[in-house]
Amino acid sequence: MENGTAHTPLLKDIAQVRQLFPILQSSVYGKPLVYFDNGATTQKPLQVIEAMDTYYRETNSNVHRGVHYLSGKATDAFEAVRKKVQRFLNAAQEHEIIYTSGTTAAINLVASSFGKKYVLPGDTIIISSIEHHANIVPWQMMAEERGASLKIIPMLPNGDLDMEAYESYLDDKVKLVAVNYVSNALGTVNPIEKIIELAHRNQIPVLIDAAQAVQHMPVDVQQLDVDFLVFSGHKMYGPTGIGVLYGKEKYLDAMPPFMGGGEMIQTVTFEKTTYQKLPFKFEAGTPAIAEVIGLGAAIDFIESIGIEAINRYETELLAYLIEALKSIPGLRFVGEPEKRAGVVSFLIGQHHPFDVGEILDKQGIAVRTGHHCAEPLMRIFNVPGTVRASVALYNTKEEVDVLVRGLRRAADMLG
């Protein structure tokens, strides 16, 4: 739980970093595991696993309500992580950090609650054509309920967003812009500074889905001046079941609660209930306490290495991966964005991604195949899906070489 600087791993000593991840020492089908499915979820370092284990052994209790020793201890640990997240994002205030079960829950919270407060029939929400379903469907549901509609920022052939089209969409009917920082399917890093600046010129708030960003690059919500930013713990070396909604106080204060229950109330009578202040207004019910502790340990882990160092290392690794993939006959990239992070999507010849993925799997190599929860995007590219390799700080150039050999073998077998 405490800051992990005691065993500060340096990225130049990648073997030492890998030692911190028990699962990376394992084999599948008798072959050493090569894990390139980090965009789906990252593996967990010992610090995270042990923090959660220790929590259950030594601290477990419900938070915010107990009179007893353990409850106080659990509450302190739980709230200390909120401070940690605040610092991690450089948020202005602690109560602007809301715990959710993940990115999906955070977007649903904003869609529902912001929608109730601000969206009227005839209004518009802008999203982009390279979004994950989690940043499409909640807006569709809300738009349908509120009589509003969606406008979709188109994509340029290389996988970058069409910023001219975006600018032309910004009018006084637009109530919110919701786009991802990094596309989970293509790896495109969107120019969110520009996206936010243009929206703000029209007094439109912006939500950034940073699920594929916070583990790869520094994110400073004040510098970005972003209004809402969401991410998941499990894609940044933390546990599943915990995510974060950052929101500016002025919006979160004005928005109605999303779920009702314990923890989020001030007083309850059968006639009228008054709600708690931020952040508790949005945290009904017993939260995922051990997972919050795990998230705190994951942030410690990332900070013990340094997000800038991680970014430098991964950028170099990704460049090496892309060059290596180019050596495979018939390989074509799906999306060649100007700026990329974390993810490479590709196809080999006419081979179905599922076939390629299965033959890689048999060689101990984990990649993602399919539409990556971005069906509309796959339709634009007119492909059934792609093979996606996504990197984390523990991947190595040697593993890239194994992947490339595995892909060559798959291409040979599929002929």
């Binding site: 179905h352 991604p353 599922f354 076939d355 299965e358 195949t369 399919g370 539409h371």
Partner: protein, 141 residues
């Protein structure tokens, strides 16, 4: 041959193959050899939608025998589709309805029948059985 005799035959064919790569090469070869279904038959009502790969299934019933033709857009799935067709096609509906499919597990490809795999193969097997059950019930009337 009965359905089980064909299954046993496939199992012994696979026993002769060594490691996973040989098995997959054989399945891929079967996939390539299975004639593609006529495009006009690849209609939505014959499509079995999986999350990862798609399977088309066409059934013909004549002279008391139920015959299947099938196709898939993924080669490994298509190879397994070919095996399923080889096992189940050309038998009486009653036999197909009662058949227990064990060869896929025996040749080590059981993950393809896992619902989480969502590759259409499990749904295809269910659909084949459904045709057979419906026809068998009709025949009893």
């Amino acid at each position: 041959m009965t359905i089980n005799e064909i299954q046993d035959e496939i199992i012994s064919e696979f026993e002769m193959l060594g490691e996973w790569m040989d098995k997959y090469e054989y399945i891929i070869q079967l996939g390539k050899e299975l004639p593609s279904m006529d495009e006009s038959l690849k209609t939505d009502d014959r499509l079995i939608k999986g999350c990862q790969s798609r399977v088309w299934l066409h059934a013909d019933y004549s002279d008391g025998l139920l015959k299947f033709t099938a196709d898939s857009d993924a080669l490994i799935t298509k190879g397994l589709v070919a095996l399923l067709v080889r096992v189940l096609s050309g038998h009486a509906p009653q036999q197909i309805a009662e058949a227990e499919i064990y060869f896929i597990e025996k040749i080590g490809l059981q993950n393809h029948l896992s619902p989480t795999r969502a590759n259409g193969l499990l749904s295809m097997l269910k659909q084949m059985k459904l045709y057979a059950v419906a026809l068998a019930a009709q025949n009893k009337l």
